[in-house]
Structures are given as structure tokens and as C-alpha cells.
């Protein structure tokens, strides 16, 4: 298997490593970089648990991304959302609105929510639900998650 040397900037930190070309970004994050905050749900791009962010709040699925194609990429995972011990408004809203049960979908949901609000700061409920179609939750029934995103949207609007 061919390998490639890459540098990934994860949550602001540079990580240089050599990877087989068939290694996914998810495997690199969880196993090579020891960051299990990004979750492995299905490994086939259907559940959204592996959602991470690129620059500009663009969301990608780490399980379908080949690490070898990500040289130089600036990636944000859920542990990187906090700023100086302060939770991101989306994280705060997930906590306050009861949008977390088992929490396994939560990292992917939170990252996707951040990307939704980055592109559309005041989404309607329908827009939120449509954007979240790629993130599956077995526990909550999505109601509280949608409410949390709406709350975060209001919180962000009031700080502008």
C-alpha cells in the first residue's frame, strides 16, 4: 500500500504523519492522533457521527475522507469548539435544551449544527430538519436538537 506524508492542522495544532493512502481521516483522528471525540458510527457515511469541520465552517464526513487527500487541511473537531474554557453557543444550547441522551451522535450533531448556522444564521425549523438529515439520533427523536439549534441561533443573533 502506498503511503503519503501529510500535515493536518487539527484544532489549531499541526500533526505531521505518514499514512497509507487508503486510511480515512476518521481512522487518523481516532487511532493515529488519539482523538476519539469524533465518533465512528457506521463508517459508510450514513449516520453523520463522524462530522468534522473544515475552514469556513464547512462540514465533511471523516469516514469517507481519505486522509492522504487532506494535506494542509485545517480541521475542527468537537473538542476544539471551546474557546478558553467557554462553550460554543451551540454546545451551551445542547446542554440547556436537553438535546443529549446517550451522547454518541452529539459530536457529529454539534459540528453539523455549527456548519448550518455558519451558512444560514437564522434557519427555519424546516431548514434545520432538512440540513440535519445526514445525522442520525437513536435516542432523542430530534425535537430537542432542533430546539437547541434554534436557541443557539437566537443566542448568536443577540451577540451580533
Amino acid at each position: 500500500m502506498k503511503t503519503r506524508s501529510i500535515t493536518l492542522y487539527v484544532n489549531g495544532e499541526a500533526n505531521s504523519l505518514t499514512v497509507p493512502v487508503n486510511r480515512t481521516l476518521l481512522q487518523v483522528l481516532r487511532e493515529d492522533l488519539g482523538m476519539p471525540d469524533t465518533k465512528y458510527g457506521c463508517g459508510t457515511g450514513e449516520c453523520g457521527a463522524c462530522t468534522v469541520l473544515l475552514e469556513g465552517g464547512k462540514s465533511i464526513l471523516a469516514c469517507l475522507t481519505l486522509a492522504a487527500t487532506m494535506d494542509g487541511a485545517k480541521i475542527t473537531t468537537v473538542v476544539g469548539l471551546e474557546k478558553d474554557g467557554k462553550l460554543d453557543p451551540v454546545q451551551e444550547a445542547f446542554v440547556s435544551e436537553g438535546a443529549i441522551q446517550c451522547g454518541y451522535c452529539t459530536p457529529g450533531m454539534v459540528m453539523k449544527s455549527v456548519s448550518i448556522l455558519a451558512k444560514n444564521p437564522k434557519p427555519t425549523e424546516e431548514e434545520i430538519r432538512r440540513e440535519l438529515e445526514g445525522n442520525i439520533c437513536r435516542c432523542t427523536g430530534y425535537v430537542k436538537i432542533v430546539q437547541a439549534i434554534q436557541k443557539a441561533s437566537d443566542a448568536l443573533a443577540s451577540t451580533r
Binding site: 481516532r30 487511532e31 488519539g34 476519539p36 471525540d37 469524533t38 465518533k39 465512528y40 473537531t77 468537537v78 473538542v79 469548539l81 471551546e82 462553550l87 454546545q91 445542547f94 446542554v95 440547556s96 436537553g98 443529549i100 441522551q101 451522547g103 454518541y104 452529539t106 459530536p107 454539534v110
Partner: protein, 126 residues
């Protein structure tokens, strides 16, 4: 009547913050050096079958494979899936009779997906 401290109040889940910051550790997140990975080989083709011959020699040759296990290798520890006998006092448990007669791998497949063998290796790929 004095005000309640919990009833009627919005209390966040005790582990919500850990989960939302990705710090909560799940079983799949546990990793340590030298750990081994196990996979179970299951009979998916038939719902009722007898394994007449189990040849794991090719699997054992794959680099990284540490051990291959069949039904004969797991007879030391048997269990039952009922667990009912653990939930009631002993005499009742005896009466209910949940016999510990199951082992990890079987040569008598009784449902689609029944476990027939196990592979232990140093990497998941192996």
C-alpha cells in the same frame, strides 16, 4: 411550603457537558498500546445448520493474527443469556433452572448470525 430545589426546575443532565465537549469516553473510544482486536465469525447463510468442519489454518497465517478460536477452545467458561437466576434468591434460581450451557462459539447454528469462530489479532485490518 418551601420551594423545591429540583422538582419543577430545569436541571441539565449530569454528563451533558462532557458529552457535548467530546470528553465522554465510550467503550469504542478506549485505546491502549498493545491492545488486541477480536472479531466473531458468524453463520449468515443458514438459520439452522451444523458445522461439520472448521478449518482456521488460513486465517491463522495472516500476519498480525494472534489466535483463532473455535467451539472446542471455549469450553472452560459457560454462561446463560437468561440471567434470571441472578435476579432472584438462590432456591428460586434453582427452580427456574437457567442452565449455564452456552459457550461463545457453536458448531450447531440455531439462528442466522450465530457465532461459529473467533479471530484475535493485533490490528483490525488483520
Amino acid at each position: 411550603m418551601s420551594e423545591f430545589s429540583i422538582i419543577g426546575k430545569r436541571i441539565p443532565k449530569v454528563d451533558a457537558k462532557e458529552k457535548v465537549t467530546g470528553r465522554a469516553v465510550y467503550a469504542a473510544d478506549v485505546m491502549f498500546p498493545g491492545m488486541l482486536y477480536g472479531k466473531i465469525v458468524r453463520c449468515l447463510k443458514y438459520a439452522h445448520a451444523k458445522v461439520t468442519k472448521l478449518d482456521l489454518s488460513e486465517a491463522a497465517k495472516v500476519p498480525g493474527v494472534v489466535k483463532v478460536l473455535g467451539p472446542k477452545d471455549v469450553t472452560q467458561k459457560s454462561y446463560n443469556t437468561g440471567v434470571l437466576d441472578l435476579m432472584v434468591p438462590e432456591p428460586v434460581g434453582q427452580l427456574l433452572g437457567d442452565i449455564e450451557d452456552q459457550v461463545l462459539f457453536t458448531d450447531w447454528v440455531k439462528y442466522q448470525g450465530d457465532a461459529i469462530a473467533g479471530i484475535v489479532a493485533k490490528t483490525e485490518e488483520a
